[in-house]
Structure formats: C-alpha cells, structure tokens
C-alpha cells in the first residue's frame, strides 16, 4: 500500500526480472514484426534517454519538480511494456504522463497549459491544440497501467537515511542525481526503490562529488562519461562491495556458528562481487583515486557497508544496480540525440501519428 512497498501494486505487478522484461518486449516485436522492422530505433537505453530528456524539457517549461517527473517516467516505462512505441506518438504520451503524474503527485497542471507547452516544444511532432487527444491518451495510459498510479520512489529512502549515514550535502546531491539518472534505465522496473536509493548512496559515498559542483555543460548538458571514468567508479564500487561482502559473509558465518543458521532465507544472494568486477579491480586501473580518499570518507563507506551487512538488503541486487548504472553511463557515449529524434519522427510521420 501507499506506505508499504511490499504490499504495493508496484511490487506485486510492476517489478520484473530481466528475462521477463526481455520476453515482454520480444512479444511486442513478435506481435507486429513488420512494423518494428520498417522503423528501426536505437537501442533501448538510448531511446529511454531520449524520452527522459523530453520529459525533463517539458517539466522545465512547466516548472514541475523532480518527483512528479520521476513518476511520469515510470508511467511511460510501464506503458511501453504494454504498447509498442511505434504505435504511438511518444510526444503525446510524454505530455500525458506528465499531466497525469502531476495530478497524482498533488501538483496538478491545467490540461490546456500542458498541451500548449508541448506544442511549442515539439511543434512538428505533437498533435494540434485539441485537448481531447491528451484526454484520450490519459484513458489509454491509465487503462494499460490498470489504474495502478501510485509510484514508490527512492527519494524517500534517501531523505530518510541521509542523516543516519551523515552524508554531506554534496553526497546527498550526488545520490539524488544518481537516482534521477536511474529513471533512464530499466532499474525502476527491476528493483525496489530502497535498493536503488542505497545503491545511489553507496556510489555517492565512494565516488565523492568533485570540488566543482555541476558539470560545465549546464542544465541541459547531455550526460558525459568515459570508459576510464566509469572504470574508476566501478573499481571503487567493487572495492566497497568487497569490503561489505566480507562483512556480510562474516556476519552470516557468525550467525551460522551461533547455531541459528535458518536465517539465510530464500534468495539469499551468493556473493560474487569479485567475479562481477574482476575486470575492474582497483589494481588494474585507476587505483589512485581510492588511495587518495580521505580516511574519514573511507570510514564512512565502511560504516555504510557494515550497516548493509547487518541489513536484509539484497546485496546482489545492489551490485546489479551499480553495474547497470555504470554501464549506462558508459553506453551513453554512443548516444546520438539527433538520430534518436529522427528515428522517432520517421514513424510518427509515416503513420500519421501527429494528427
């Protein structure tokens, strides 16, 4: 329910394994292979990135805060698991998702205003002034989501726990931006929000914000990362995970020794952090960052790891989240916004979805 993620519809109906997601998407392709082949699209992550950028552009115009925008992004992700994107005008559904999310997050925007801003943002792709199109899409969106509109977001975990771990303002900001970024990936469909939040906090602690806040590209800067940077981040994450996994292993061992033993319930992860991150061990690449780390920060990371070891948090899921985020940052290098936009415009125009 609203306060209880474990009983929520998000947990019961909208959390998938990677295989399930792949199968669902394959089924959409199989339903109309001609359509999919006629209009090739960039890889899913690039498509997601493009959609996210458009959601944020509209959100900025309407001065909407991050939380409703995050909800809108989840709506879009759910919707496009049910409906092949090439059957829709994505700009129309972006506007609809934002409009609906604002109502759900108690900061409603007038439908006319949303349509007006969407039209000026995407003058050639968006539909006309007719608000009834947006209204119709709202029915479509809600129906495909089975009216399950309450979204649990990682921000809540972050704000709850940030003081427990004495995160600095910079670390909180960094964790916050990592959470923002995770909405570009499939992670909201794969893992519970607290897993995402803890991963973001861990990454924020081990990655340490740079001295100069914000990147030079400004607000609308595209994401930037290099393999080198990702590897460095990954290495540090791996390091923290190793320490933490050892703590966990020690804790599990201690529990087993004390005779209980039954506490490692189903799904207790088999820890393989070394295997997962073997290519990026601190000794192979970019080892200096972690060594330069001030002791205080290292202690903070260790304290966080110790807390994780004692918690029931799914560590394997956290590792996977971290990998997913980092590989997303890497894959972003190949992203071409213009090509993505053109690929979308092609099917919108050819199928007359802009009218």
């Amino acid at each position: 329910m609203a306060a209880n993620f474990w009983e929520s519809t998000q947990r019961r109906y909208w959390q998938f394994t990677k295989d399930e997601l792949a199968n669902i998407r394959q089924a959409l392709v199989d339903a109309d292979p001609n359509l999919v082949q006629s209009f090739p699209l960039p890889q899913q992550r690039h498509l997601n990135l493009y959609l996210t950028q458009q959601v944020n552009r509209l959100g900025k115009r309407l001065a909407i805060r991050q939380q409703p925008l995050a909800t809108a992004q989840v709506y879009l992700k759910r919707f496009y698991l049910r409906v092949e994107i090439r059957r829709t005008n994505p700009y129309l559904f972006i506007a609809t998702a934002v409009y609906l999310a604002c109502k759900m997050e108690e900061c409603p925007q007038h439908i006319r205003l949303v349509v007006q801003e969407a039209r000026s943002l995407w003058p050639s792709e968006f539909i006309g002034q007719d608000i009834s199109k947006l209204g119709e899409c709202e029915f479509f969106l809600i129906s495909e989501m089975s009216s399950q509109l309450i979204i649990h977001q990682p921000y809540r975990t972050l704000t709850t726990l940030q003081s427990d771990f004495e995160l600095t303002q910079d670390e909180i900001m960094l964790a916050w931006t990592i959470i923002n970024d995770h909405y570009i990936t499939d992670l909201p469909l794969l893992y519970p929000p607290h897993t995402i939040a803890l991963t973001a906090m861990l990454l924020a602690i081990v990655l340490r914000p740079a001295n100069t806040p914000g990147n030079s590209g400004g607000q609308n800067a595209g994401p930037v990362v290099t393999a080198q940077g990702a590897a460095g981040g990954l290495a540090m994450a791996a390091n923290a995970f190793q320490a933490q996994a050892q703590a966990r292993a020690a804790a599990v061992a201690a529990a087993a020794m004390s005779g209980g033993g039954g506490n490692s319930g189903p799904g207790t992860p088999v820890m393989t952090p070394q295997a997962s991150f073997s290519g990026f061990s601190p000794t192979t690449e970019n080892p200096t960052e972690i060594k330069k780390a001030p002791d205080a920060r290292y202690a903070k990371a260790q304290r966080f790891a110790a807390w994780l070891a004692e918690s029931n948090v799914d560590l394997e899921a956290m590792i996977d989240c971290a990998q997913e985020l980092i590989s997303f940052y890497e894959c972003h290098e190949q992203y071409n916004e213009k090509m993505t936009k053109e690929a979308i415009s092609r099917f919108i125009k050819a199928r007359g979805l802009d009218k």
Partner: protein, 519 residues
Amino acid sequence: MHNHHQQYHASAPTFPLSSLFPALSASASASTSTSTSSGDFFQIPGGFNLSMNQARNARAEVSYQQQQQQQQQQQHSQHAYSSGIGPIAYQSKVRVTDKYKVIGFISSGTYGRVYKALGRHGQPGEFAIKKFKPDKEGEQVTYTGISQSAVREMALCSELQHPNVIRLVEIILEDKCIFMVFEYAEHDLLQIIHHHTQQPRHPIPPNTIKSIMFQLLNGCQYLHTNWVLHRDLKPANIMVTSSGEVKIGDLGLARLFYKPLHSLFSGDKVVVTIWYRAPELLLGSRHYTPAIDMWAVGCIFAELLSLRPIFKGEEAKMDSKKTVPFQRNQMQKIVDIMGLPTKDRWPLLTAMPEYSQLATLQQPLGSNHSAHHGHHGYHNPHHRPAPNAATASVSHLEKWYYNTINQQISASAAANGAVSLSCLDKEGYSLLAGLLEYDPEKRLTAAQALEHPFFKTGDQISANCFAGCKMEYPHRRVSQDDNDIRTAGSLPGTKRTFTQVSQSYGGDDHLHGRKRVKE
C-alpha cells in the same frame, strides 16, 4: 521555498561521473554539442491528417443491446485499420455491459451515478458501479482530462486492501466514462441512523455502536498508517454490508499526505462536509493531520448515539472563488456544546488564521439551555450576555452525553426490544471526549482509540455489527427507472427525487457542490 529546492528539480539528468573526475573535462565540451543539437529538431514538416478519434464519434450512445452487433463490426474495422497504418483510437478491452448486468440505480450526484449490478460470468456477489459523468462540451461528450478527485480515488482504491475499507473490484475506462466497480454494501450509516429515527424512535443497540466504532476506527488506522487522509468521513460514506462489516467508502477526497510538495490547504481549499469538519479546519489551518478524520469519527459516534448530527451548522457559501469564508455558524454549534477553545486547552490556538473570529462568537448556551442543542437557527449576538472567559470555555459535552444515553425509551420501542445506551457509561464519554478534543495534537489517534477501555468493557466486540440484532434493517433502495448505465450519465439533471432520508440530509451538498444523495 522553490528556489531552495531548485537544485533537486527538474533539470536535465546530471551525470555525476563527469563532474567527479577532472580528467573528463574534455568530454564536457561534447555535452555542449549534444545539447545544442536539440535545436535542429523542430524543422520537420507537418504530415498526415489521420484522427485518433476516427470511428469513435460515430458511435451513438444508444443502449448496448441495440448496438452490440454494429459495434462489433466497428471494432473489427478499427482493428484492421490500426494494424495497418495510422493511429490507434483508445478502446477499452473490457465492456461494462459485457461483464455486468445492471439491476438498478442507487444514487446520483455531481460526480456521476451509482448502479447496482450482478456479474454476467458468475462473479460471486453483488456490485456497486460508480460511473463518473463524462464532461460535455456542447452536445458532444469529449475527453477533457480526468478530475483530480477521480484520479485519487482510482489510484487509492487500486492500492488499498483492508476489511474495513470498501473493496474495488476493477476499473473500466470505456467510451469517455470511468466505471469503478466496487463490492456492494447493503447499508450505510446514514440509512441505519435514519431507520432508528422512525417511530417509535429507538436507539441503535449499544453493541452495534461498539462494533461499528471499532471497525470504523480500524479502517481509519489502516488509512492513516498508509499515509492516506480520507477527508470526507460522514455517515453516508460509511458502508455496512449485510453481514455487518463496516467499510469506509468514497475516497474521492482522500489523498496521500506523506511529505506533500505543497501544503494540503493549497490543494483543496475546503475539505470535509461542514457538520464533520474539525475546528482546526474551521479556523483556517493550512496544515492538518489525520486528526481531522478523528474529529469526524467523533461526530459520527455522537450521531450514532443521538441519531442526529451533533454540530448541525449552516454553511456560509463562498463569496468568491479565492476567499474561503469563516464558518461562523458551524463554529458556533461546536462552541455551544464544547465551550470556547482556550490557549490552555489548545496551545497553538492563537496561531490559527481565523483565531480572531472566535471573539465574535457568542457565549455558549448555559445550563438553562437544553443540552439538546442544535435546532435553532442563526443566533443573534445581542440576545446573549457578553462572553465571560471563565464560563465560556466550560464544556457541556458530558452533560450532552449523559442526557443522550440516559434518554427514556418509549414503551412501544421497549416492546420492540429497544435497549438503553446507558450501559455505555463513562467509557463512552471518555472516548467521545477524546475524539472531540479541540487540540488536534491531543485528540485520540485511530490507534489510541482502538485501545480505549470503551472497547474492553462489556461484551466482546463482534466483527458483525448486527450480531444479536433481532430485526433486519431495510435494504438499500434500488430504483428501476434508470437501468441503462451506458446512456444515463449523459442525460444532465436527471436527478432522482429525494426520499425522506435524503431530505433530512438535504443540506448535504456542502462540499465542492458535491451532491451526496443516498437512498
């Protein structure tokens, strides 16, 4: 306030790694090129002219049976159309009339209409289908965006699962209308109270009251622990099934209150039907808590005891859209029984926006006045002595309570088995006073109220509020005049004539002009 949070706002995704490693500064220039490239995107010329609405508007709103065949043909043609080239018009995968057989009309209001229905495919039980009225522009029904109230109700009902909260079966979005299918409840508290006012007037059995209150509080506790405020608790919205289960219904004004982005007041200027509205709301509080629901529960408890609203004020209408008037008459009704609130009883009282208005109220009626409050019209301030701080703040609730529970039962009612409420005794008063506490911080929470001795003395609480009742309450009235769920919503002004029940609550139209006519 906004600026303070600006950094967390809707800026484009920031990619932290780039800012972490100075070595990446070279790639920062790459980012500028990505962002500028977005400028080229607007040049694509306009294209085709296919309507998403094609074929839809052609469909006349005629009864399902007549149109079934034709629609199937339309669906086929639409399907063929959409699998080729062009847009897809929204089409519900489930049709209300395919799945449910409407057997009667229950009630209507500005939100729409409620029907009673049975499943066509052997779904067990009966159903209440709430149809939200579609908006109309001229004669044509169009999509204008779903009201926030409907969005809240749909989202919350889809999520909530508790034996004391009405159960949603499904939601069907079809033909520009929203159909919310609920489990059917044979009774509601308004009906039950009304039944007891029928001659000979006889009190609701004490064990029934206890069970109703326990179940109601249990549902409230569930809502509140899940960060849901109901904001419209009143007898008409509390359903009771034929097996005596109490179900909180109508979540049209309910909302989540976990760390709201804006103050609750800014979202909805007026909440809770006037007679059940908590003093902090009447005094203009911008921020409020689940305690507002608990005040309403206190009012409902009093009404179960006395069979009439305890604070039956008259609502001052909004003079303009922007300003919410001070509800002087309603506040006066509360003060008449509870005494004037004081800083001692309610430390934050002086911080209330409408605090100064309290001085303009009249001194509560003294002991010479019957504790049977409430049926006089507006008070004239000149007819009463000036308020005296010492006596003005004295509460007459205890007196009201004992007068109520010790009322003589008429011989004819006694012959029908009516039982006195006097066994509810001091525990009943203590619970009532705890719920009708001026200071919202001191008011009982749902969890505290459930632990109250009231529920621990006397017979064990039954999960069936009718347990031990000899008589049966009359069933919900279901009319046959308007059985066509598909067309009826589009006929404006087809309100059913009020029955006696609704007339006695005829003023029940206080909130957002929402008519709540229950039959």
